[in-house]
């Protein structure tokens, strides 16, 4: 279990919460000061598989940046929204495909899966929630949706086939993808902070985002983006971790806090009873 403990240590400080009144799965929430700085890490590629994944990500990113006019120094809110909405629609695919493929594999090999299916499905739902948080700010029209559909068609099929053949490669790919995501969100935060995006500097967070991330009443959009970036960093670490495992180990267990939404909890002080974690 020592390698499992190492994974938890690399993640930003968070608590897993579950709202039994909501159909959402358990997901992490954060104390804002813990996630103010998230390191933009990079896992050095070690073998051909890693290098292949990394180079593919770099090529895809460069072309995407070129086509969308990405500029680290200054971009408009409209450009940012287009970018994040598009990317989050793509981000929701790998977790679901991975979970589904593992589920089917478990059914036909009759071997248990040790919790990874659920973990990957949670990741997919988490990314989909990111998408809907951003959709509160921008409602794309039909041309954008067509591009999303086309990208999904291509990516889903490629990823599914790759996952059947080489799941470790896929997780490494997602790990590197999330590294880029953390980097991009860090750039976004920097642009908000240095005044390039005045509309977003003090924009309040939407109700849905506040509830999802258990944020205080006066939370801003910046706080939401901090949380989203922290989520991406967790996915980054988990996906790299899965690839590194020599022998598949069970998912590490974490305490799950039950929140009672009826009395809209603002900070951790209002949470429901603590559930003691089990030691496996």
């Amino acid at each position: 279990m020592s390698s499992a403990k190492k994974l938890l240590e690399q993640l930003p400080k968070h608590k897993m919460i579950l709202d039994p009144k909501s159909y959402r799965m358990a997901h992490p929430v954060y104390s804002l000061k813990d996630i103010e700085t998230i390191a933009v890490t990079h896992r050095k590629p070690e073998n051909f598989r890693d290098k292949f994944a990394l180079n593919l990500i770099r090529i895809m990113r460069s072309s995407f940046d070129f086509v969308t006019g990405y500029n680290e120094k200054k971009m408009t809110t409209s450009q940012w929204l287009n970018r994040v909405v598009f990317l989050e629609t793509v981000a929701g695919v790998p977790g679901m495909v991975g979970g589904m493929t593992r589920h089917l594999k478990s059914l036909r090999t009759l071997k248990p899966d040790h919790g990874w299916i659920h973990n990957l499905l949670e990741e997919a739902e988490n990314e989909r929630t990111h998408l809907f948080i951003f959709l509160d700010l921008k409602q794309p029209k039909w041309m954008f949706k067509t591009m999303i559909a086309m990208a999904q068609g291509v990516f889903y099929n490629l990823y599914f086939l790759s996952y059947l053949v080489a799941p470790k490669y896929c997780h490494r790919f997602v790990g590197y993808l999330e590294e880029e995501a953390v980097h991009t969100y860090t750039v976004l935060l920097r642009q908000i902070d240095d005044g390039s995006l005045p509309e977003w500097k003090n924009m309040p967070a939407t109700q849905m985002a506040k509830e999802y991330y258990n944020l205080p009443e006066d939370a801003t959009l910046r706080d939401v983006i901090l949380s989203i970036r922290a989520d991406e960093s967790i996915h980054r670490e988990v996906n790299h971790y899965v690839t590194d495992q020599q022998v598949e180990e069970p998912v590490e267990s974490e305490e799950v806090y039950i929140v009672n939404r009826k009395y809209n909890s603002g900070d951790f002080g209002h949470e429901h009873r603590l559930i003691q974690d089990i030691t496996k």
Binding site: L18, P20, K21, Y23, R24, M25, A26, V85, T89, G92, V93, M96, V97, G99, M100, H103, L104, S106, L107, R108, T109, L110, P112, G115, I117, H118, N119, L121, A124, E125, R128, L131, F132, L135, Q139, P140, K145, I148, A149, Q152, Y156, V251, S253, V256, I258, N260, Y263, S265, G269, H270, H272, R273, I275, D277, I278
Partner: protein, 255 residues
């Protein structure tokens, strides 16, 4: 519906054994050609399957029963996951929320997979069996996925009728246990994970586990028929979820 925060499983139903002794075998009348296609597919495949596996309603051996339920539960785990994934992808590209249907289907898939592992406590299939399972999964997955892209309603109706057959078959199994034809299984205790999963009493037997499994299938039956009839603008009913190991506690703002 309970959820156990200590385990990674999703919310699932548990029962009082007294409530599930009798589960009605219902049949939803077909309403249009789509329903008829679904019903005839299920009935047709069932006939062929029964013939190939030597199904006998009056009396069957334990070995045949275990083969049957294990095989069928490997197939049962497919539709929920396939449906859940397809709706997830659709929600991502249409940018519309999904009204909570995804999680029901994923829960259903996980529930069926749990049934599989519960039955696996009683029999470990060999390589030939696994090969058959793999081949069937390959065919069924692709068929179901394509159908779901074209007509989710047809698929839910199909699963609804499939689960009707499942409830029927489990009722026959229970009848055969009660008639004493399956002494080994009748004597067996329910495995520990079954007792934990379904919150069964300590002295629960195989029969009690089958009662709970049958009740799960009846829930899937009702929900899939419900999903087949759902209009696009309707909201989906949410079931109350209790957290295991917790009494409900009201928190006031001043806590």
């Amino acid at each position: 519906m309970v959820i156990d925060p200590k385990r990674h499983l999703m919310a699932h139903p548990i029962y009082q054994l007294g409530d599930i002794q009798d589960i009605k075998q219902t049949h939803r009348q077909t309403d249009g050609i789509r329903d008829k296609m679904a019903l005839y597919s299920v009935r047709g495949i069932r006939r062929v399957f029964d013939m190939l596996t030597g199904y006998n309603q009056d009396r069957m051996s334990e070995r045949l029963w275990l083969n049957r339920v294990i095989f069928l539960e490997t197939i049962a785990g497919v539709p929920g996951m396939c449906g859940g994934m397809t709706i997830h992808l659709k929600s991502l590209r249409s940018l519309k929320p999904d009204r909570g249907m995804i999680h029901y289907l994923l829960e259903e898939a996980e529930n069926e997979r749990t049934h599989l592992f519960l039955f696996m406590n009683f029999k470990k299939p060999n390589s030939l069996f696994k090969l058959l399972i793999a081949m069937t999964q390959g065919v069924f997955w692709n068929f179901y996925f394509l159908c779901y892209l074209m007509s989710p309603k047809f698929c839910h109706r199909l699963v609804g009728y499939l689960e009707e057959e499942a409830v029927y078959t489990y009722t026959i199994l229970l009848k055969q246990i009660d008639q004493g034809f399956l002494p080994e299984l009748e004597k067996s205790d329910a495995p520990k994970i079954a007792k934990e999963y379904y919150d069964l009493p300590e002295d629960a037997k195989f029969r009690d586990m089958v009662l709970a499994i049958r009740a799960d299938e009846s829930i899937h039956r009702e929900f899939n028929h419900y999903f087949a009839e759902l209009r696009p603008e309707e909201e989906i009913e949410e079931l109350d979820i209790t957290v295991m190991g917790q009494e409900t506690k009201n928190i006031t703002q001043t806590d």
